[in-house]
């Protein structure tokens, strides 16, 4: 299933999904977003446990309700409450120009993300800007085995390591390393009291194909093989030789077909044999979007970078499958 809309991105309203375990600082960040002078009229959908504590007409309560579209497959679950409430909110779209959705601390972010691609109204009127995940630097280690924590890390485009004032450098670096092992492609920010620059979390355009990947070169250079201390892990694949699109397509669709529910996010920029344009690809579970992007710039390092984030990944198999796609 592709997840692009026929409506140009610029005509659609950007949506930020805010996740994070209980106590990570989501409410503090929401308050900052609502009071910050960023010139945006932001509408916020909070879950029933949220207490934003700001009297704002554009704060709307939602009651998380998961709809299964197809035999309970995780890849087809959506948030029914969001479809209904956003559908109503969009009727007066002139009153706001950015939407932020807070999820409960125990939520799997996938249904929220999928809602914006599966539901045709939301797909054509909104565009997912980024998934922002707050991480409690002080307590995250205690919740490390929680499936929700790992999923929230895995789906993130922006990771805000919050409460930096409460840990020392060594502790922070340890969390950074563990977080990077799960998600090497998210932008990493460090904050105190969720104080982060607004332009780093709103208007990120992380789901636009041309922004497919921003891998930290240093991270790739390490030829990354940390110990995988979580069920959720990532594989960063790099190839200097041109690749074959047909082989890639077959490999990726087989992969998604057999492991879709376990594949959280994939992002990649591909150097294809005989093509002057970059090929960019991203996915959320079984939804894949891929297209030719701009030509490689002169002097740009032409190579393929591909990141797979998922549960119980067979790293060696993935590396072998990827290597077999070299042209």
């Amino acid at each position: 299933m592709a997840f692009s809309s026929p409506v140009p991105a610029a005509e659609r309203l950007p949506v930020t999904v805010l996740t994070g375990y209980l106590g990570a600082g989501k409410t503090t960040l929401l308050n900052r977003i609502l009071t910050h002078e960023h010139g945006l009229k932001v509408a916020v959908i909070v879950n029933e446990f949220g207490e934003v504590g700001i009297d704002n007409q554009l704060v709307v309560d939602a009651d998380e309700e998961i709809f299964e579209m197809n035999n309970g497959c995780i890849c087809c679950t959506v948030r029914g409450d969001l479809i209904r409430i956003i559908g109503n909110l969009m009727k007066r779209r002139d009153r706001f120009d950015h939407l932020v959705i807070e999820t409960t601390g125990l939520a799997d972010p996938a249904p929220v993300i999928q809602t914006f691609f599966v539901d045709e109204d939301l797909r054509d009127e909104l565009r997912l800007d980024a998934v922002v995940t707050l991480v409690d630097l002080l307590h995250v280690q205690e919740h490390w085995s929680s499936e929700e924590v790992q999923e929230q890390l895995a789906f993130a485009d922006v990771l805000v390591l919050n409460k930096a004032d409460l840990v020392d450098d060594a502790e922070r670096e340890l969390v950074e390393q563990r977080v990077r092992a799960i998600n090497p492609m998210a932008r990493l920010l460090t904050s105190h009291m969720a104080n982060v620059p607004m332009d780093q979390i709103l208007g990120v355009e992380a789901f636009e194909l041309e922004r497919a990947l921003s891998l930290d070169p240093g991270f790739l250079a390490e030829e990354h093989d940390h110990e995988h201390d979580a069920a959720v892990s990532s594989v960063a694949l790099v190839e200097e030789r041109p690749m074959d699109l047909e082989k890639l397509g077959r490999w990726i669709s087989d992969l998604v077909g057999s492991r879709g529910p376990d594949l959280f996010r994939m992002k990649g920029i591909f150097q294809l044999a005989g093509k002057d344009e970059r090929y960019v690809l991203q996915s959320v579970h079984m939804m894949i979007d891929g297209d030719f992007d701009r030509p490689w710039h002169d002097g740009e390092r032409r190579r393929t970078e591909f990141v797979i984030i998922g549960r119980d990944l067979e790293h060696d198999d993935l590396r072998a499958g990827f290597a077999a796609c070299v042209a």
Binding site: Q57, D61, F67, M69, G80, R84, N88, R92, E120
Partner: protein, 369 residues
């Protein structure tokens, strides 16, 4: 074949915010129009006046309706409150009753009972009933396993259908609590649209998973299931003119309208006829009362009129803004629609003789262009 146009003049007026809902009173004397800015406008055609019952607010109104006897007007929306006005007839100022907070979040489904005074309101995972005769809430709301997505009364007012994710419940509230318990049907997805036919008492349910269920006469037995729609099935309409078998049914999913004709009783009982005209999402769908003339409104800025065989008779345009909804006056000769700029439109419509059955009560009124 050259045909005289069905529509040659129009009325219009403006609210500040996009129009979210509109409803005619049963006698056709009043038209109520609600907006995303919480405005509520009441047009009184006999007295020739209009009154803004509620000015602009920060919370939208999303559903509006008159009780069958014309005694009450109801509106509800984002605030989760039920607003009621008591109407004293044409020329008399409506009297606002105290708003009633239901505490179930945004209200976008509520419906008055035909031939009765019960008002069903979907609030969160409950269907609450307000009894206009006693002016109080009935005890024992109907509880559903998920947020109520849609409500519909049977045409005789005896049966109420409510749907959520996974369940479609049929209830006879007049008999509650001593009568039969609600009949709960499992459905594969979320029921987004419900509609009972007049003749035959069929029930149709449009689902989020791009399918449509249609129960046979008197809702007995297993439903027919139709799938393969391009999008969720969000709007349904039955003609109230009897067909050879079931009356005509129309469905809307994304930009596609389909006209369904029952041709036999078996497994392949229904013949679908796609009605091609709209370029974007269809937002309103209704047969003219007493007729097989179908109107469909779209956010592409057009309203299309179709005959009972699915032929496009005329396309009406507003001023470029997308239409959000439409509603026929009870006489079947006047069609109202609301658009995304807050403008309401009213067209007198000449229904072709072939689409009419017998003349209905209620005279027309003269529109001033």
């Amino acid at each position: 074949m050259a045909q005289a146009p069905l529509v040659s003049e129009r009325l219009c007026g403006d609210l500040q915010q996009p129009i979210t809902a509109l409803a005619w009173s049963a006698d056709g004397e009043f038209l109520a129009i609600a907006s995303a800015g919480g405005e509520l406008l009441l047009l009184d055609f006999r007295a020739g006046c209009e009154e803004l019952l509620r000015g602009e607010h920060n919370s939208s109104l999303d559903v509006v309706g008159f009780s069958d006897d014309g005694q009450f007007l109801m509106a509800a929306g984002q605030s989760g409150e039920l607003l009621l006005w008591e109407l004293g007839g044409t020329g008399v100022r409506p009297l606002a009753m105290d708003p009633m907070a239901l505490g179930g979040g945004w209200i976008d489904a509520a419906a008055w009972q035909p031939d009765g005074l019960l008002l069903a309101v979907a609030s969160g995972r409950q269907v609450r009933l307000w009894d206009g005769a006693l002016r109080q809430w009935r005890e024992d709301p109907l509880a559903l396993p998920g947020s109520v997505q849609s409500l519909a009364w049977s045409r005789d007012g005896g049966q109420l259908a409510a749907s959520c994710q996974g369940e479609l419940t049929l209830w006879r509230p007049a008999e509650a609590p001593s009568g039969e318990p609600p009949l709960r049907n499992s459905i594969a997805s979320a029921g987004l649209a419900l509609s009972f036919s007049g003749p035959g008492h069929h029930l149709a349910c449009g689902l989020l998973d791009r399918s449509l269920l249609v129960w046979p006469e008197h809702c007995l037995g297993q439903p027919w299931q139709f799938s393969g729609f391009p999008a969720k099935v969000r709007l349904l309409a039955w003609s109230d003119r009897s067909g050879r078998l079931a009356p005509l049914l129309a469905s809307a999913a994304a930009d596609s309208v389909i006209l369904w004709t029952q041709i036999n009783q078996g497994a392949k009982a229904w013949r679908p006829e796609p009605l091609l005209c709209h370029q974007r999402r269809v937002s309103g769908l209704a047969f003219a009362p007493g007729s097989t003339l179908l109107a469909s409104a779209s956010v592409d800025g057009t309203v299309a009129l179709w005959n009972g065989r699915g032929h496009l008779l005329q396309v009406l345009e507003g001023q470029g803004a997308g239409f959000n909804n439409l509603g026929w006056r009870g006489d079947g000769r006047h069609l109202a629609a609301g658009d995304a700029q807050g403008r309401w439109w009213l067209w007198p419509v000449t229904t072709p003789a072939a689409e009419r059955s017998n003349a209905r009560a209620g005279g027309g009124f003269k529109a001033n262009p």
